[in-house]
Symmetry: C2
Subunit: 574 residues, 2 copies
C-alpha cells in the first residue's frame, strides 16, 4: 500500500509517558493508540505484525498436533466456581453481572473453559492424549499496566491445553511443546529467548517454565548460573545458604541497644558479622490480617512468592499495631508474645550464635541458639537467591541475576482442574481416572513489543522479515521528477505482482522525512528510487539494519529483492 | 488429520432445544458447545470454517482499500458518553466497573473506537477517504439469544468504518462495499443473498441496507416486490394505502355498541367495511411512561419501528390505567380526554366516513370525518406493509413477504459520530468540517450457521468448498484389511503432500457409522478406499451433495481430487 494512505501518525518526539523504547517507538511509529489504562487499539502496521506472529504460532501448534478451537471471552462465573478460582483469584479477574443478574467473568486464562469443552468427549482413555489451543482476546484487570504492550489489561493470547492419561505422557508432550516454543521464538526473530524454571502461581501444578527474553526493562529477575545451565525465575529459585559459624557458641545474654533497630545498626553496635544476625520480617495474610513472622539471616531478603506458596494465601507487609504485642525493630524468636504464625528460613540453620531482637524495646539478645534456646523448628526455603549465591544445580557460587520479559510459559498442571471440575475417563482396566493437564501460553502483543525492545536502534524498530509489517519499503525520492516517479510506480507494481508485501512512499517530501518514517516502520528491506540512481539505471537496496547495501539494475530489482527476502528468511529459519 | 483424534462428539439424535436445522446439525456434528445462554465454544471444524470465512472477508476488505486494525473488546464508558450512546442504548450494552471503579463497556459495535483511533490522524482533507476494519469478538447482551449461532451474545464480527469528505464520496464507497459484500456472500457459497433497504436503528444515519438470506427460520420479514426490484425490511418498508371511500359521507352519530370493543365486532355489529374503521393502538414511552395513541385503519397493523423513529424513543404496549382516562376498547380521536400524544396513520387520509370509539364505555361514533369533526392533522407512515400491498417503487399491488436472516449490513452514518465526538478536518478552503462516515458489518459465526441453514440435507451440512472444514474426507472402509489400509494410508500422505486439507477416517467401524460422521462433517469431497475398490485398483470419489460420483485409478486419485477441488472452487468463484 501507499504510505500516504496509511492511517496513523509518525513523529519524532519521544512521548514523556513511555518508559521503554519499544513503547516509545510503537507510539511514535503509529503502531498503537491509547484507549484506556492498559487498553490499546492497533494501527495497521501492528495488526500486520501480530497477524504474522499468530500464523507462526498456529503453524507450530498444528505441528505438535494441536487442534484450534475458540473459547468465549465472557464466561459464566459458575464455571470458575467449579475450579474454585472465582473466589481464589483476586481483583485481576474482572467479575460482573449480565442483564439477568447472572455472575460472569472476563476470561483471563481458559483452563475451566478447556475442561468444559472436552469433559464429555474425553471419557475413555482411547481419546487421549490431545491438545487444544485458541488465539483469543483476554482481559486481566492488572493493578499496574506498564511499558505499552508489555503489561496490558486486554491482550491477544495463544493458550493451549493438553490432556493426558499419565505423567510420563504429559512430560513427553511438555517437552514437545517446549521445543515448539523454541521454534516460535526463533521464527519471530528472537532465538536468544531462554527457558527458566518458574513458580506456577495461581495456575497450580509443579513443573513450569517461563520463556524469557533478557533485557534490562524486563519485569522478572532471573537467576542464571555461570557454570552450568541452571536458570530460574528468582521467584522460584531455591536459595542455598551454607553457614560458616563466624562466632563461637556462647550463652544467651540480654543487651541494652538504645536506638538500634535496623540490622545495619545492630551489626555496627554489637560489632558482629551480619551472618550472625537473625532478622524478623513481618507480613499479614490478605484475607484474615493474621500476622506472619519470618525469621531470616540479617543479610538476606524474603522471597514473597515462596512465602505465599507455603502459606497458601496472599500476604502484604504488616502494619504493626499495639494489640499485636510486637515490638517493631526488636522482634525476635525468644520470648515472643502474641499468638502469631512464625516461620524460620533455612539460612538460620546451623548457626550456633545469633543476635536477635529481645521483644523488649531497645534490647537485643546475643549468643542466641535456636535449638538450645527456642527448641526444634522446621526450616523453610524463604530467602531470595543472590548474585554470587550457590547454584542449586551445580553447587558453585556462580549465580548471576538478569532481568527478563516473560514471552511465554508452559505448565504441568496435573489434575488440579480435572479433579475440581470432575472430568474423568475410564482407563484400560475400567477404572475412573482424572486426566493430567498441561497448559501453554504466549501473549501475542507482548511478543511483538519484546521483539521491538531487543531489535531497534535510536531511529526505530528493526523488524525481522518473518513478522515485519511489510517486506519491502519502496522510497521514491523526488516523486516530482517524472522519470523517477514512473520507474518507482512500475517497480511498485512489479513487486506487488511478485506477491511481495510493499509499503510505497511516493509522497513529495524531503528524503529526511521519508527515511525517518521508513526507520519508524522498520521494514527490513528498503528500495530507493532516485533521479541519481535512475541515471545509472539502478536502484538502491538496503536492509534496515544496514548490514546489506547494494545497487541493482532496474531490470533485476525484483529478482534482487526476492533473493534478499529469501536470504533474510533463511537467516531466521531454524 | 485423523478423525479418531478430532475432539468433539458426533451423534444422531436431534437435541430437543434446537429449533433450527443449522443449530441441531452443528451441535450433532461437534461444531459448537454451549457454555452459557448465547455463549458457545467452537470445536475445530467450526474454527476451520470461521477462519476461512474471515480470510475471505479480509481479502475483500483489502480489495476495497480497507486497512485492518484492532479495537479493544473492553472500552471505557467515557468513550460511549462522548457519542451519547452510553445512555441511549439499552441493556444489550453490557456495562460494568473495573477494579478502580472506572465505568467500562463491552464493545457491541465500534463506531466510537473507530473515531477515537483516527481523530488526530485525519485532521486534513488530504487524508480522506479511508476505511478501517477489524475482525474481533463482540458482546451484545441479547434478551433472547436463539437458534444457535444465529442470535448469540458473544460473536466474532468484521466491522468496517469509512470516512469521507463528501456525501458523494461516501455513496461511491458505499456502493463499492455493497459489491464487496456481494462477492463475500458469493465466495462463501450463498450467492442468493439479497440486499434490502433497512431501518438504521440505533446506528443513526439515513441510508442503510441489510444483506438477507431468505429462509423460513429468518428473524426478519422482508417486503419484496414481484414486479420490480424493490426489496426492504418490513421495518423500513413504506406502506402506501389508497383509500376508496367505500361509504358515503354522513353526519357524526353516537351509537350504543354494547360489548363491541374489537374491530371485528365493530365491523360485524355496525355492518360496515373494515376499511371504514379507525382503530386506536396505545403505547407508552419506555422512559416516561407517557401514552402514545396511534389511530390507524382497522385492517392494518402498526409498524413499531417507524413509530419509534418518529418518537425518537423506545416504546412498549400500554398498560391502560384508570388515571389515563382512556376507555380501552372505545378509544377514538373525537372528544378524547387526557393529555396524550396522538398520531394519525396515513391510512386514515381521505376517508370521509369512519367509525371509531367514542371515548365512552360501550359507544362508538359513525360518520366520523377527521378534517370536519376533529381538525387538520398531520398523517405519518406508521403502518406495516402487507402481502399484496402497493410497492413503493413501481406502485403495483405486488408486495410479497418473505423471511430472512440478516447476514450483513451497511450504513451511511453521516456525521452522527464525528459531530458528537468532535472529530474535525480542515477542508481545501481552510474551513473546519465533520467527516462523513459509513459502517459495514458481517457476523462471522452467524454467516457460518446461515450457510448451514440453506446448505444441508437431513444427514448434515453440505459445506461449500471455500469454507469447508476440510476439502477431502478420506474413508478407509475395512481398515482391518491390510492392503486397503495401506492404500488409504498412502493416499492420505499423498493428499497431504499435495497441500490438500484432509480429514482421514481409518477407524475400524462400520461403513454406516463412518458415512454418517462424514455427512455431519459435510466435507464436499469424499474419497472411499475399500477392499472391493482396491481389487479394481480404484477409489471412489463422491461429492457431499451427490451431484458427482466417479471412480478413479489409484494412481490418478490425487490428480482427480485436485481437479475436483478446482472445479468446485471454480463453480463458486465470481
Amino acid at each position: 500500500m501507499k504510505i500516504k494512505n496509511l492511517i496513523g501518525d509518525r513523529f519524532k518526539e519521544r512521548p514523556s509517558d513511555c518508559v521503554t523504547d519499544s513503547h516509545a517507538l510503537m507510539v511514535r511509529g503509529g503502531y498503537m493508540k491509547y484507549v484506556a489504562n492498559g487498553i490499546y487499539s492497533s494501527f495497521p502496521p501492528l495488526k500486520n505484525i501480530t497477524r504474522k506472529i499468530e500464523q507462526i504460532i498456529r503453524e507450530e501448534m498444528d505441528r505438535i498436533e494441536g487442534q484450534e478451537v475458540l473459547f468465549p471471552v465472557v464466561l459464566p462465573g459458575t464455571l470458575w466456581d467449579e475450579s474454585g478460582r472465582n473466589s481464589s483469584v483476586g481483583n485481576e479477574l474482572l467479575r460482573f453481572e449480565d442483564r439477568n443478574g447472572s455472575s460472569m467473568v472476563l476470561g483471563m486464562t481458559h483452563e475451566e473453559a478447556a475442561v468444559q469443552l472436552v469433559r464429555e468427549y474425553a471419557q475413555s482413555y482411547v481419546k487421549y492424549p490431545f491438545m487444544i489451543y485458541q488465539i483469543q482476546t483476554k482481559f486481566r484487570d492488572e493493578a499496574r499496566p506498564r511499558a505499552g504492550l508489555i503489561r496490558v489489561r486486554e491482550f491477544t493470547m495463544k493458550d493451549a491445553y493438553s490432556f493426558h492419561t499419565s505423567q510420563e505422557d504429559l512430560e513427553e508432550y511438555y517437552s514437545k511443546c517446549f521445543h515448539a516454543y523454541e521454534r516460535i521464538f526463533a521464527r519471530v526473530g528472537i532465538p536468544e529467548v531462554i527457558a527458566v524454571s518458574s513458580d506456577s502461581g495461581m495456575m497450580g501444578g509443579n513443573v513450569s517454565h517461563e520463556f524469557m527474553l533478557l533485557t534490562p526493562i524486563g519485569e522478572d529477575s532471573l537467576a542464571i548460573c555461570k557454570e552450568c545451565d541452571y536458570r530460574a525465575n528468582m521467584e522460584a529459585a531455591a536459595s542455598i545458604v551454607n553457614n560458616e559459624n563466624n562466632l563461637q557458641s556462647s550463652s544467651l545474654e540480654l543487651i541494652y541497644t538504645p536506638n538500634v533497630s535496623s540490622i545495619d545498626d545492630v551489626v555496627k553496635f554489637l560489632d558482629i558479622p551480619i551472618e550472625n544476625t537473625c532478622k524478623a520480617v513481618v507480613y499479614q495474610m490478605n484475607l484474615t490480617d493474621e500476622y506472619v513472622l519470618v525469621f531470616i539471616r540479617g543479610d538476606l531478603d524474603v522471597n514473597e512468592t515462596k512465602l505465599t506458596n507455603i502459606l497458601g494465601s496472599d500476604i502484604h507487609p504488616a502494619i504493626i499495631t499495639e494489640e499485636s504485642r510486637l515490638k517493631a525493630g526488636y522482634i525476635g524468636p525468644y520470648k515472643l508474645e502474641g499468638n502469631h504464625k512464625v516461620l524460620f528460613d533455612k539460612s538460620l540453620q546451623h548457626i550456633d550464635n545469633l543476635s536477635c531482637g529481645a521483644n523488649i524495646g531497645e534490647y537485643h539478645y546475643i549468643g542466641f541458639n535456636i535449638e538450645r534456646d527456642y527448641g526444634k523448628v522446621e526450616y523453610h526455603d524463604l530467602s531470595k537467591i543472590r548474585v554470587g549465591g550457590v547454584c542449586p544445580q551445580c553447587g558453585k557460587h556462580a549465580i548471576t541475576i538478569s532481568r527478563g520479559i516473560e514471552v511465554g510459559n508452559i505448565f504441568q498442571l496435573g489434575t488440579k482442574y480435572t479433579k475440581a471440575m470432575n472430568m474423568e475417563y475410564v482407563d484400560k482396566d475400567g477404572n475412573h481416572q482424572y486426566p493430567i493437564m498441561g497448559c501453554y501460553g504466549i501473549g501475542v502483543g507482548r511478543l511483538a513489543a519484546s521483539v521491538c525492545e531487543v531489535r531497534h536502534d535510536e531511529y526505530g524498530p528493526i523488524w525481522p522479515i518473518t513478522i515485519a509489517p511489510w517486506q519491502v519499503h519502496l522510497c521514491c525520492l523526488r516523486s516530482d521528477d517524472l522519470p523517477t516517479k514512473e520507474c518507482a510506480d512500475t517497480l511498485y507494481q512489479y513487486l506487488l505482482d511478485a506477491n511481495i508485501e510493499v509499503i510505497y512512499d511516493d509522497r513529495n517530501v524531503r528524503a529526511g522525512v521519508m527515511f525517518s518514517d521508513a526507520d519508524l516502520l522498520g521494514v527490513p528491506i528498503r528500495v530507493i528510487v532516485s533521479p541519481k540512481n535512475i541515471q545509472e539505471n539502478r536502484v538502491e537496496i538496503i536492509t534496515r539494519d544496514k548490514t546489506i547495501s547494494m545497487k541493482a539494475d532496474i531490470s533485476e530489482a525484483v529478482l534482487s529483492v526476492k533473493n534478499l527476502i529469501a536470504k533474510l528468511t533463511n537467516d531466521i529459519s531454524i
